[in-house]
């Protein structure tokens, strides 16, 4: 499947899952969809036949509240049936509100408490370095997440141990629960801070698949330092009334909104 279509199908599954569950995080799930689509559909060495392969690339969704995005990618890649998306955030199912590595095939780390995922990604990367493994580690973080001090401890660690097998995507959509990140608690300027912390920094349009591909290539070619890809994104991307609206951080659409959203996603591209 073309990655463009893969991303479109992910968006449909995300909106549908959140609508069915009556809860979830559509805004931040849709803003990182294109990044995750390139990683799962093109880049990472991962297979549903052997989800625990010791040589697989690792993926850590540090912004664990975008779980619907990860589940949609895993379902489309065959890690579990797409039908199972109906159990999202429901009792008795395994698609927990935030990713649970114990039960969901393809989930490399349980995340949800902001700031911790990036540290665990550093752990996977340093283990690979010390034991001479070739796998790469990818993490997706939120911009609001950068307000957690632990992120900066992890960045220090990644640069200190020269984790060039680690590539961090920062989903810079500019919004958090209480509003604009610059008004709540500004983590800006992000690229300059990441540079000061010892990262190779690339700034891209996080919805442009070619720019995402180019950033991945750049990251792989960079030696001796970790890479941060600062992705300018739109919260709620693909659904007009959700775009750039902080109110859609953690709200599920009603039936009418859901139908409208699916129509718009299908019409786009």
């Amino acid at each position: 499947m073309e990655t463009k279509d893969f991303a479109k199908n992910m968006r449909k599954l995300i909106v549908e899952a959140i609508y069915n569950s009556g809860s979830g995080h559509p805004g931040g799930s849709l803003s990182c969809t294109d990044i995750v689509s390139v990683l799962f559909n093109e880049e990472m060495n991962k297979s549903p036949e052997c989800p625990k392969d010791p040589d697989r690339d690792r993926f850590v969704l540090s912004k664990g509240h975008a779980s619907a995005t990860l589940y949609a990618a895993l379902a489309l890649k065959g890690f579990f049936p797409t039908e199972e998306m109906k159990t999202f955030r429901k009792i008795g199912g395994r698609l927990e509100g935030h990713p649970d590595m114990k039960y969901i095939p393809g989930v490399d780390m349980s995340t949800g408490s902001l700031g911790q995922g990036i540290s665990t990604a550093c752990g996977m990367a340093v283990s690979g370095k010390r034991l001479n493994k070739d796998y790469r580690v990818y993490a997706v973080m939120g911009d609001g997440e950068l307000e957690e001090g632990q992120c900066w401890e992890a960045f220090m660690f990644a640069a200190h141990y020269k984790l060039d097998n680690l590539c961090v995507f920062i989903d810079f959509n500019g919004l958090q629960i209480d509003g604009e990140i610059t008004k709540v608690m500004s983590p800006l300027p992000i690229p300059e801070k990441m540079k000061a912390f010892g990262f190779n920094v690339i700034e891209i349009d996080g919805h442009n698949l070619d720019e995402i591909r180019a950033a991945l290539k750049n990251a792989k070619e960079t030696k001796g330092m970790p890479t941060a890809v600062v992705c300018h994104t739109v919260k709620g991307k693909g659904v007009s009334f959700m775009e750039n609206a902080a109110g859609w951080h953690g709200t599920a659409p009603n039936k009418e909104q859901y139908e409208q959203a699916i129509k718009e996603i299908e019409a786009n591209g």
Binding site: Q116, S119, T120, A121, M124, S127, A154, M156, F157, H160
Partner: protein, 326 residues
């Protein structure tokens, strides 16, 4: 027996090297305290598998979780205050929730840290760690049981918290042959008057209490309880049936640690209404620590044989109070 003295952390440093040889997939993490926690011995032997995380304990625990997901065993160490205290949420969410194979080995627990004072004397870690689902909580009493606890932890698949102190302690258990299993509890001396259950650095104190009562013709049972969770129900049950009182001694707040675990067990066994048993919890009585030498601090906080004996007499046989020979 008790002529040899050795700090638990020295035993920890030694057993790490032994385990590092046995397990090529074992990593050891530290947070700028390698010489105090003694992970430095592992660092010298296996530099590629030792990672100093700097003064950033929260990051260290989540890094440990990440390393463990790559089929590795991870030991992560700092002082109890910063391991169990500062990094509590990382231990809960990144280590225990996914049941990752990380062993948190915390040194410098309790009042016996001494002069550094309250900010460094963690008296709450057993309570914090005991409350996390799936966490095994150990508080060994000497170098032999420290080594056995670490060997057990390396073998066990899942999170384990091991609490060690700073001071040299009498060597009671054999460093090579003492074996350790879940729910470990060792009756080190038998008796029928009262049962003293201790964890951590209190073997000598418990035996002093026993000697004091022996002088008065009363026999105290002494039980070393290195496994705080899961708690050995049998020793508690036997103490209820065989003796008149249970005394717990721990270098910890009386809330949340060994004393609480024993109290819960007594309540759950639901036999104490038929077998009235006094429970006396010796520990920090909902107080922070202070600066001072460990010996002075222990005396100030009631960790002396005489103070404990007085509490036992007052609870069990107040009529004996005037006659008791100290």
């Amino acid at each position: 027996m008790a002529d040899n003295m050795k700090a638990q952390r020295d035993a920890y440093g030694e057993v790490l090297v032994e385990l590092g040889k046995k397990y090529p997939n074992m990593f050891v993490l530290d947070a700028d305290l390698t010489k105090s926690t003694k992970t430095v011995t592992f660092q010298k032997e296996f530099p590629k598998r030792h990672i100093n995380c700097g003064i950033a304990e929260g990051n260290m625990m989540a890094v440990a979780a990440g390393i463990s997901t790559c089929d590795n065993i991870v030991f992560a160490s700092s002082f109890a205050m910063f391991a169990a205290g500062r990094a509590y949420e990382q231990i809960r969410n990144s280590i225990c929730y996914p049941h990752n194979n990380v062993k948190v080995v915390a040194t410098h627990a309790g009042l016996t840290v001494g002069e550094d004072g309250a900010t460094h004397q963690c008296l709450e870690d057993l309570g914090l760690m005991r409350s996390i689902p799936g966490m095994v909580v150990l508080a060994p009493s000497d170098s032999g049981s420290t080594k056995a606890a670490c060997r057990f932890a390396a073998e066990y698949d899942g999170p384990v918290y091991i609490r060690l102190g700073r001071l040299p302690l009498p060597c009671v258990n054999d460093e090579e042959n003492y074996k350790f299993e879940l729910g470990q509890a060792d009756v080190v001396a038998d008796g029928d008057f009262a049962t003293v259950m201790f964890c951590g650095p209190f073997y000598s104190l418990a035996m002093e209490v026993r000697e004091l009562f022996a002088k008065n013709g009363l026999n105290i049972r002494v039980v070393d309880v290195p496994c705080i969770k899961p708690m050995n129900q049998e020793v508690v049950k036997n103490a209820i049936y065989d003796t008149k009182a249970i005394v717990t001694i721990e270098d910890h707040n009386i809330y949340g640690g060994l004393g609480s675990a024993v109290a819960e067990t007594i309540a759950e066994l639901n036999i104490s209404n038929r077998r009235p048993t006094e429970l006396i919890r010796i520990g920090a009585e909902d107080k922070f620590g202070k600066s001072g030498s460990p010996k002075e601090l222990l005396a100030a906080y009631g960790f002396t044989a005489e103070a404990i004996a007085k509490k036992i007499i007052a609870a069990v046989c107040p009529e004996f109070e005037g006659e008791f020979k100290f």
